[in-house]
């Protein structure tokens, strides 16, 4: 009897991460994963006049780097799914305008990395004709600070629960394997996904987005394991996007109570990107580039080299706008899940 799953989609197609690249700025290079980034610009400018264009350029560099690694060109890509943190997702539109590839723009706040990979794999699952697709996620500290918070050079003291929006991009090229002779057998696989729900974060504090998103992450993880037959111990890691210290602590408390064992394999990209002892990141990194760049620089290489076999990856998004916060609305969280496995 086939078990009917409503929330989780198990992919029947064999979709692999055939190439990926992480690009960052100054702080990202200084962090513990800095060495593993494919490229970083210590000026954060990427040769551009404005921070907004810098984000566009950074995304372009990331995607081109990922393509170059597999000797692919723009015309090899059938579909491009991308998102960023700027209003109307304009960083992606401007950065990718010259590529001439069918494009789907997505916005999931900081959950964009998982959201774009989920969307792309759903497209690929639905159409055999799509052989190679690309997903790109960017965030830029200065562009985001300007848009969501204060001027860049504004001197203020941030709350200890606040996080540091990363200047980072992650580009992923997904390829379909059809038949045993297909290439890419040694590449990590995306084998299932589950969209997240919009979950009330129970706070309107813009300096505590990690805390607000923790509940969305918890609900997604609990939903996943209640519907799937797997157990947390089948996994090497449950990786959240950017909960930071506050959000991770909250999530661990919930998991300890409701899904014992899961808290021990939890890890968070927001805690991996920076060295919080020496970098001014407070509760950790945030921004959609965080989970994208950590996935591309850290977890995918681990999966590809079979050092780990199976992870649940859920980027966490804080759904809000500067206006909604000022109007006293709570922050809502969302955490779509993708399941990643090492090559067989």
């Amino acid at each position: 009897m086939e078990i009917y799953m409503k929330k989780i989609t198990v992919l029947k197609s064999d979709i692999r991460f055939i190439s990926y690249a992480a690009v960052g700025g100054y702080e990202e290079r200084r962090g513990p994963l800095g060495e593993k980034f494919d490229f970083s610009d210590p000026t954060d400018r990427f040769g551009q006049d404005t921070w907004e264009l810098a984000e566009s350029e950074m995304g372009k560099v990331a995607l081109n780097t990922a393509l170059t690694k597999m000797k692919l060109s723009h015309s090899d890509i059938d579909l491009l799914v991308a998102g960023d943190l700027q209003n109307q997702c304009v960083a992606s539109s401007i950065g990718l305008s010259g590529f001439g590839i069918p494009f789907v723009g997505v916005y999931g706040a900081c959950s964009t990395c998982t959201e774009s990979l989920m969307t792309l794999s759903a497209f690929m699952e639905s159409s055999e004709a799509l052989k190679i697709g690309a997903a790109l996620t960017t965030s830029h500290n200065s562009a985001a600070e300007r848009q969501f918070r204060m001027p860049i050079e504004y001197g203020g003291q941030r709350a200890r629960s606040a996080q540091w929006t990363s200047t980072a991009a992650g580009a992923f090229i997904l390829g379909r394997r059809s038949g045993i002779d297909s290439p890419w057998s040694e590449k990590p696989k995306i084998s299932a996904f589950m969209p997240g729900k919009i979950v009330d974060g129970a706070t309107a504090d813009g300096s505590n987005m990690g805390g607000a998103m923790a509940f969305a992450a918890a609900e997604s993880i609990l939903d996943y394991f209640s519907e799937s037959e797997e157990r947390p111990r089948d996994y090497d890691y449950i990786v959240t996007g950017d909960l930071g210290q506050v959000g991770s602590d909250i999530l661990k408390d919930i998991l300890r109570e409701k899904l014992p064992g899961a808290e021990n394999i939890h890890t968070d990209c927001g805690l991996l990107l920076y060295d919080r002892e020496i970098q001014d990141a407070h509760s950790g990194a945030s921004g959609c580039g965080t989970s994208a760049s950590v996935l591309a620089s850290h977890f995918l290489p681990l999966l590809e080299s079979k050092k780990i076999n199976k992870i649940l990856f859920l980027s966490t998004g804080a759904l809000m706008s500067p206006q909604s916060l000022l109007q006293g609305q709570n922050i809502f969280g969302i955490a779509p899940i993708i399941k990643l496995t090492s090559p067989d």
Partner: protein
């Protein structure tokens, strides 16, 4: 589904408080240092020969200039990270709020960028500063009328 009260409890449990003693001490030291600098400038201007009122005004102008300069050179936010209210409360905080916004919005043009947004952060101080000035003026006027006995 988790209860809102359960969520609020967890947020409260894990959100770190600000370090009041450390923050206050640093604010006191940095703020005090700025005020001392102001006092030294005042003595300098008086020594040069300006009267008390002009010296005071020149001190304000000088501190605003220094705040703007340090902001433009890119140090202000690195200092304010530690000093907090110490750099915010003196007039330096106002200079920083205006300068940083001007630097940011330069990319959107001189009129539509800087012109529109320069008082984005400092605007409330200007608006409510003027409003309370007007209010104080009215109260003061009424008070003087009463004092002169011409009110009734």
């Amino acid at each position: 589904m988790m209860e809102t009260s359960y969520k609020k409890k967890l947020i409260k449990k894990h959100t770190p408080h600000s370090r009041v003693l450390r923050d206050c001490t640093l604010a006191f030291l940095f703020g005090g240092a700025i005020c001392t600098l102001g006092e030294l400038l005042y003595m300098l201007y008086s020594y040069i020969g300006f009267d008390s009122e002009k010296s005071g005004m020149l001190v304000t102008v000088s501190l605003i200039f220094l705040g703007a300069l340090v902001t433009a050179l890119g140090f202000f936010d690195n200092i304010a990270r530690y000093s907090g209210a110490g750099t915010l409360v003196p007039v330096t905080g106002f200079a920083n709020a205006v300068t940083s916004e001007a630097m940011d919005s330069r990319s959107e043009g001189l009129v539509t960028g800087i012109g529109v947004k320069i008082f984005n952060v400092a605007g409330p101080v200007i608006l409510y500063g003027i409003l309370s000035g007007v209010l104080y003026g009215i109260i003061y006027y009424v008070y003087t009328l009463i004092q002169r006995g011409s009110f009734f």
